[in-house]
């Protein structure tokens, strides 16, 4: 069971399908959070978001598992309280876009930090909710400005980003207030980097897991480059797609390009072991 659905679902199937978690009431709470006061100045934080510091890298290097686990726990405590994300599918995205207001298309802080991507090439992030009305107060957070979109326009933009191969993720700003709808890929997304490189769960897996039906897979390999989580490979001996269910984040991007419909998403909760693998 997803702890966030348990705590913040309030009867909705998923915590992020509960409109209360996008509401203004929670935006007010964020003002008291240290992250809102400008802790993003450090490049390991700016764009790097919850990136782990040098001390963590050194502990890993010397094989100090106790220190690694302690620092991971610290990172989890901070991220889960303030700013963390979860992968969602395109079906869930459509329900969310109909629920959020306003919808602001903005530049991605991660790609600015990773590649210094110019603003005009970097409009891949959606800011949502009442905080977006105040974007002009923080010109640097919203470098390049904000384009406000209708739900239909937002669906078109998000559709084209997903076709490019970017994964939809939702982010909290003072959990459980949801205010970021990001479109992420490896290696540019700091959250995917931190989760996949270090198993530090600043990005949670989604509520689904992709499975391949080998009798339907025609071995075309189109799905392989869609995976941003190192979960999908191509078996050179079987000539079929191969998905690691423990590593799959359930975004569904591989499924979208599968012409013979060999890939399906199954509910994570329906698989006893995977039900607790986030």
């Amino acid at each position: 069971m997803c702890v966030w659905c348990q705590r913040y679902g309030e009867g909705y199937e998923r915590w992020y399908l509960n409109p209360a978690n996008y509401a203004r009431r929670l935006y007010k709470v964020r003002k008291e959070e240290p992250e809102a006061a400008g802790a993003e100045g450090n490049p390991q934080a700016a764009g790097g978001m919850a990136s782990m510091g040098r001390a963590f890298l050194e502990a890993r290097e010397r094989g100090d598992l106790e220190a690694v686990e302690r620092m991971k726990k610290q990172a989890h405590d901070i991220a889960w309280g303030i700013h963390f994300g979860q992968v969602i599918t395109k079906e869930e995205l459509e329900q969310i876009v109909d629920m959020i207001y306003p919808i602001g298309l903005m530049t991605c802080a991660c790609r600015r930090s990773m590649r210094g991507l110019p603003n005009e090439e970097n409009f891949t992030c959606i800011g949502m909710g009442p905080g977006m009305y105040k974007w002009e107060r923080w010109p640097d957070t919203y470098r390049g400005g904000v384009h406000f979109l209708t739900p239909e326009e937002a669906k078109q933009v998000l559709d084209s980003l997903r076709r490019r191969g970017l994964v939809h993720t939702l982010f909290t700003f003072g959990t459980p207030y949801l205010a970021g709808l990001c479109n992420c890929d490896y290696p540019d997304c700091a959250a995917i980097r931190t989760a996949v490189d270090f198993d530090v769960k600043v990005l949670w897996k989604g509520h689904y897991v992709a499975q391949v039906d080998p009798s339907l897979c025609n071995g075309c390999g189109l799905c392989v480059r869609r995976c941003q989580f190192k979960a999908l490979s191509f078996s050179a001996s079987a000539l079929k797609a191969n998905i690691d269910p423990l590593q799959c984040y359930g975004c569904g991007l591989c499924r979208d390009v599968c012409k013979p419909d060999a890939i399906s998403l199954v509910d994570r909760a329906s698989l006893p072991v995977l039900a607790e693998v986030w």
Binding site: P43, Q44, L57, R112
Partner: protein, 84 residues
């Protein structure tokens, strides 16, 4: 061994516009950030942008960033590993 990356900020006046080192690194070891927090009503000036080593666990000390920097602002130090 984990390499150490040192950037001399005085030789790196506008990394947001230059970004050569960020693009040349094969594993995105470097990160772009600022030495000030977000400022209300003001965009941060380019001279406050800084480059730092962030993901040194993936640095192979290939020295591509050192070579490409037009101002020689980056140094990468690595201790030679002892053969296992």
């Amino acid at each position: 061994m984990l390499p150490t990356i040192v950037v001399e900020d005085s030789k790196c006046p506008n990394p947001l516009a230059c970004r050569k080192c960020l693009l040349v690194c094969p594993t995105r070891v470097l990160g772009l950030g600022t030495d000030v927090g977000p400022q209300k009503y003001r965009e941060i000036d380019p001279e406050h942008f800084i480059v730092r080593g962030v993901r040194e666990q993936l640095c192979t000390a290939c020295m591509k960033c050192v070579e490409i920097c037009p101002n020689g602002a980056i140094q990468v130090a690595v201790e030679r590993g002892v053969p296992a």
